[in-house]
Amino acid sequence: MPKSPRSGRSTPHPDFDPLALYRTMVTIRLFEEKVGELFTAARIHGAVHLYLGQEAVATGACAALEAEDYITSTHRGHGHCIAKGGRLDSMLAEIFGKATGYCKGKGGSMHIADLDSGILGANGIVGGGIPIATGAALACKLQRNGRIVLCFFSDGASNEGSFHESLNLASVLTLPVIFLCENNQWAVSTPASWSIPIENVADRSAGYGMPGVVVDGCDPLAVHQAVQDAAARARSGQGPTLIEAKTYRWEGHYKGDPQTYRSRQEVEEWRRERDPIVLFQHRLETDGLMDEERARRIQQDVQEAIESAVDYAETSPEPGPELLYADLFAEEGAQP
């Protein structure tokens, strides 16, 4: 397991608030636990891929962005969406497949998007978001709007051709994009230690002439720092950065995955020793920013927000048949 490197290179983001980071991490944790519970109870259908254990990555990374910046996300995207400012009620309604969801119930867990918050969509195709992030960064550059793009993907996606084509093009065109690989060690049942024949995904940056940075993905401050540095680089026209956050997927690939491919002991070790929320809470306590009571209040607050979002989602209407053909094309409801 990686150590926690902590460096202070650039000044913190003006809105940077460690307690807000803590709250976001707790929100992701409790949200995902709730989604897992709802899925197990068969109150939601389909499949869900939980972000448990990776909370520090989305939280630290998105805190280094401006509101108008873009992200692209993955099939394991709930955490990204929450960290970028997605609404819990609209997210849950979407996960329930309801008309009030972000996608009117037509996307589900794997396709949550909120373009108004800069969330260009989760993605059911591994590596599918990487070219899209590259193109969004191209649009930012051409429009000179000062925005940047943060692209979340995984160790598994770094073996897709789309990853290599995108990093190459982004570097050739000096695009304002940050490629953030969440190395959670497992691509379904395939260990990154086997499928990636070098130590770090970040080392692949050398092939594309951009910086490659390894950070502790269990430390939101380390992630924040790295993304902030990369963001400064992107905004100043110096092009893309590849960051690898070493983290761990606590759950199976999907909720209900029997996980015959890895040992219970490995999972327990990460949960026990590298829980990003426990580690961060300890640090905040050491810094005098947090105490038990405060942490409990935040957790309770978040839990209430999630419960009311669940109520909203579950009592929302199903999409009506008029939505079957709606939004296929920009001409409302047009059938070719």
């Binding site: 960064a137 093009l169 920009a330």
Partner: protein, 325 residues
């Protein structure tokens, strides 16, 4: 009117739309100084510079994907895939991303992009450079598919495609690039989803696409001298399809022949034939006939290549056959 080749009509459409709208840009392999593999973008790099005519490495997946990303982030990209055959390398971004984004995001995203690609056989580049793969795209809900047959149509349709807020697959037959035709002066558009009757007739309706329209017209001239009056309908866009114009013609002529260059099995002609039979069955005097490419890869040999795709003779023979002449 001016008499210009298809490639110039397409270039004029690109230029005019780039002048009209600063968010329009081009993206693709060798499209800059070189002007593209078929010279379609020649001169545009000098005119608009490297920010509007963006050359890429040989990376079809990210060409298509970057077009998708740029489109949802406020631009109107026009990507070029050098040969339609190479679109296989970009299919995830077209099929799983571009086509579905608006729908699966509940109408939030607008994906205004065009992907241009040259299709078609007839110049000896063999199996991996000569295909007509339009049926694949027609099968994916969320894409529009355009396949012009004349310079005037190509220009007007491309302008509509660029202004359209949806992903549009724009298929240019490479053997039409040099074919000249009259093109109206100035700015005009042709709506997507509107067929054109290229020749009026009473005895048979030939529905043909892309280069096959030229062959169908030649066949019709020949048939006219034999006393057969053929009507040639060019759908121009396959999705959306102007079925009304096709059905109206068939209801008058009572005989339909569908012609395309792509292989017959699973081709878009099957869809058109099925629609005609479902919606105009009572008007038909004969089963709807299909004259299509053979179900083989395009062979290199000139002798074999010419057997693999329909030509004027085969269209004329097919029409005679269905009319029992």
């Amino acid at each position: 009117m001016s008499l210009i080749p298809c490639s110039q009509a397409i270039r004029d459409a690109l230029r005019e739309e780039m002048q009209r709208d600063p968010t329009v840009f081009l993206l693709g392999e060798d499209i800059g100084k070189h002007g593209g593999a078929f010279g379609v973008t020649r001169g545009l790099f000098d005119e608009f510079g490297p920010e509007r005519v963006i050359e890429t490495p040989i990376s079809e997946a990210v060409i298509a994907g970057a077009a998708v990303g740029a489109a949802i982030a406020g631009c109107r990209p026009v990507a070029e895939i050098m040969y339609m055959d190479f679109v296989t390398l970009a299919m995830d971004q077209i099929v799983n991303q571009a086509a579905k984004m608006r729908y699966m995001f509940g109408g939030k995203a607008k994906v205004p992009l065009v992907i241009r690609m040259p299709s078609g056989a007839g110049r000896g580049n063999a199996a991996q450079h000569m295909q007509s793969l339009e049926a694949w795209f027609c099968h994916v809900p969320g894409l529009k598919v355009v396949m012009p047959s004349t310079p005037a149509d190509a220009k007007g349709l491309l302008k509509s495609a660029i202004r359209d807020d949806n992903p549009v697959i724009f298929i240019e037959h490479k053997l039409l690039y040099a074919v000249k035709g009259d093109v109206p002066e100035g700015d005009y558009t042709i709506p997507l989803g509107k067929a054109d009757v290229k020749r009026a007739g009473q005895d048979v309706t030939i529905v043909a696409t892309s280069r096959m329209v030229q062959f169908a017209l030649e066949a019709s001239d020949r048939l006219a001298s034999e006393g057969i009056s053929a009507e040639v309908v060019d759908p121009r866009t396959l999705v959306p399809l102007d079925l009304e114009t096709i059905l109206a013609s068939v209801r008058r002529t009572h005989v339909a022949v569908v012609v395309h260059e792509a292989p017959r099995r699973g081709g878009y002609g099957a869809e058109i034939a099925a629609e005609i039979q479902e919606q105009a069955f009572d008007w038909l005097d004969a089963p709807v006939a299909r004259i299509c490419g053979e179900d083989v890869p395009i062979p290199f040999s000139k002798a074999l290549e010419s057997l693999a795709i329909p030509d004027t003779d085969r269209i004329a023979a097919g029409v005679r056959h269905v009319l029992g002449r």
